[in-house]
């Protein structure tokens, strides 16, 4: 089980993601705008952040950039939820410090599979991920 923070201003999508990830056994902290996401991240220190790009108060880019400026939070992987066909949005997200993006719309089982893969990929470990030939 992991602690995942979601930032999504569209309630239906937020509820669907929350339900899906809780059903998969994760602890979910749901937020509805960028400012709330930024403040809650500092409180809960999640293992993973799933964040929409376009949100009120602070955009996803702004939140991501601010998180990367904070030493104890910059390691938290940020994944943007981006609509298909918004390549410029994806690129700006990566430049802001996100590690990946998930294209919307997505099926709940795909989301669970993807999130579990991301948690495995970015889990902190003392072991070296890559060893030399």
């Amino acid at each position: 089980m992991a602690k995942i923070l979601i930032a999504e201003d569209e309630r239906d999508i937020r509820d669907l993601i929350t339900f899906t990830l809780r059903f998969a056994g994760h602890e979910v902290v749901a937020t509805s705008n960028g400012e709330e996401a930024f403040l809650r991240t500092q409180e809960v220190k999640p293992d993973l952040i799933l964040m929409d790009v376009r949100m009120p108060r602070m955009t996803g880019y702004e939140v991501c950039k601010k998180l990367k400026e904070i030493r104890e939070l910059r390691h938290i992987p940020v994944v943007f939820l981006s609509a298909k066909g918004q390549e410029a949005e994806v690129q700006a997200g990566l430049e802001a410090g996100a590690v990946e993006y998930i294209l919307k719309p997505f099926a709940p089982d795909q989301l669970t599979e993807r999130v579990n893969a991301l948690l495995e990929k970015y889990k902190p470990s003392g072991e070296s991920i890559e060893t030399p030939w």
């Binding site: 993006y101 294209l103 072991e127 070296s128």
Partner: protein, 262 residues
């Protein structure tokens, strides 16, 4: 999806596992996705990367980057961006050509290279391809293989120019001679029933260098990794498990690979 920005453009990649790095390079039809089963098999012991080349999958479609030189440059820049040092390359079709060009150019960073469906015999390559339209190639090469659904859907994302330009560039390269010259352990693999890539008779080319070996899948077409996944994945793992500097010539096709459980 994971991506890096190269020359202000998105380059899509995925990575699985921990261990020595391997990079999988897709061919003219499809994207990184058809490598998933092979990556999963390899990722129990290795760190398996796969990238979408320029014009394929989710990577940017930029026609000025479709030359073989630019695709090879992409591999080099990607490795630098990821901090990958010495690497094993596994390429298929176009990816095999890129892997070979890279191994030839940067021999000191390539530990071994596996070239699947390498178009060694170029004489009638264009006639064999017939068309460079992704949907036409997908129909011809993926046949009715039910395991190829992912490759089929991904094939349609490719930019036709990326296929055509890379094929045109091939006219000026002697891939067989180049593969004989690289010092890293090299394994060339073909599917006997491949409708576009002819199977060369490498035994008629004199003795192959000790670090080069050729294996033919008698029951496969253009996609041995999809047609005979168990045999293919076992061969990949056997190749990766060779000691550094060991000749690949002892390798042979074996039945399903099973990991020993202690």
């Amino acid at each position: 999806m994971s991506a890096v920005i190269i020359d202000d453009k998105i380059v899509h990649y995925e990575v699985l596992g921990r261990g020595k790095p391997i990079i999988f390079l897709h061919g003219w039809v499809g994207s990184w996705r058809y490598w998933i089963p092979t990556m999963q098999a390899a990722s129990t012991s290795y760190r398996a990367y796969a990238i979408d080349l320029w014009g394929f999958g989710e990577t940017a479609k930029e026609s000025q980057k479709y030359s073989l030189e630019q695709q090879t440059e992409l591999l080099d820049t990607f490795m630098n961006a990821m901090g990958i040092g010495k690497v094993a390359l596994i390429g298929h079709g176009l990816g095999g050509v890129v892997a070979l060009l890279y191994a030839n150019k940067q021999s000191f960073v390539v530990d071994r290279v596996m070239l699947v469906g390498l178009p060694v015999a170029l004489d009638d390559l264009f006639e064999r391809f017939g068309s460079t339209v992704p949907s036409d190639l997908s129909s011809r090469l993926l046949d009715q293989n039910p395991g190829a659904d992912v490759a089929r859907s991904e094939a349609l994302k490719a930019d036709e120019k990326a296929i055509r330009i890379s094929l045109e560039d091939l006219k000026y390269i002697d891939l067989l001679e180049m593969s004989k010259q690289i010092s890293a352990a090299s394994l060339i693999v073909h599917g006997l029933n491949d409708p576009v890539i002819g199977v060369p008779d490498l035994s008629s080319n004199g003795d192959l260098p000790s670090m080069l070996h050729h294996i033919v899948f008698n029951e496969s077409g253009h996609f041995p990794m999809l047609d005979q996944p168990n045999k293919f994945n076992r061969l990949v793992n056997d190749f990766l498990d060779l000691e550094p500097g060991e000749s690949p010539q002892r390798l042979q096709l074996k039945e399903e690979w099973k990991r020993r459980i202690r």
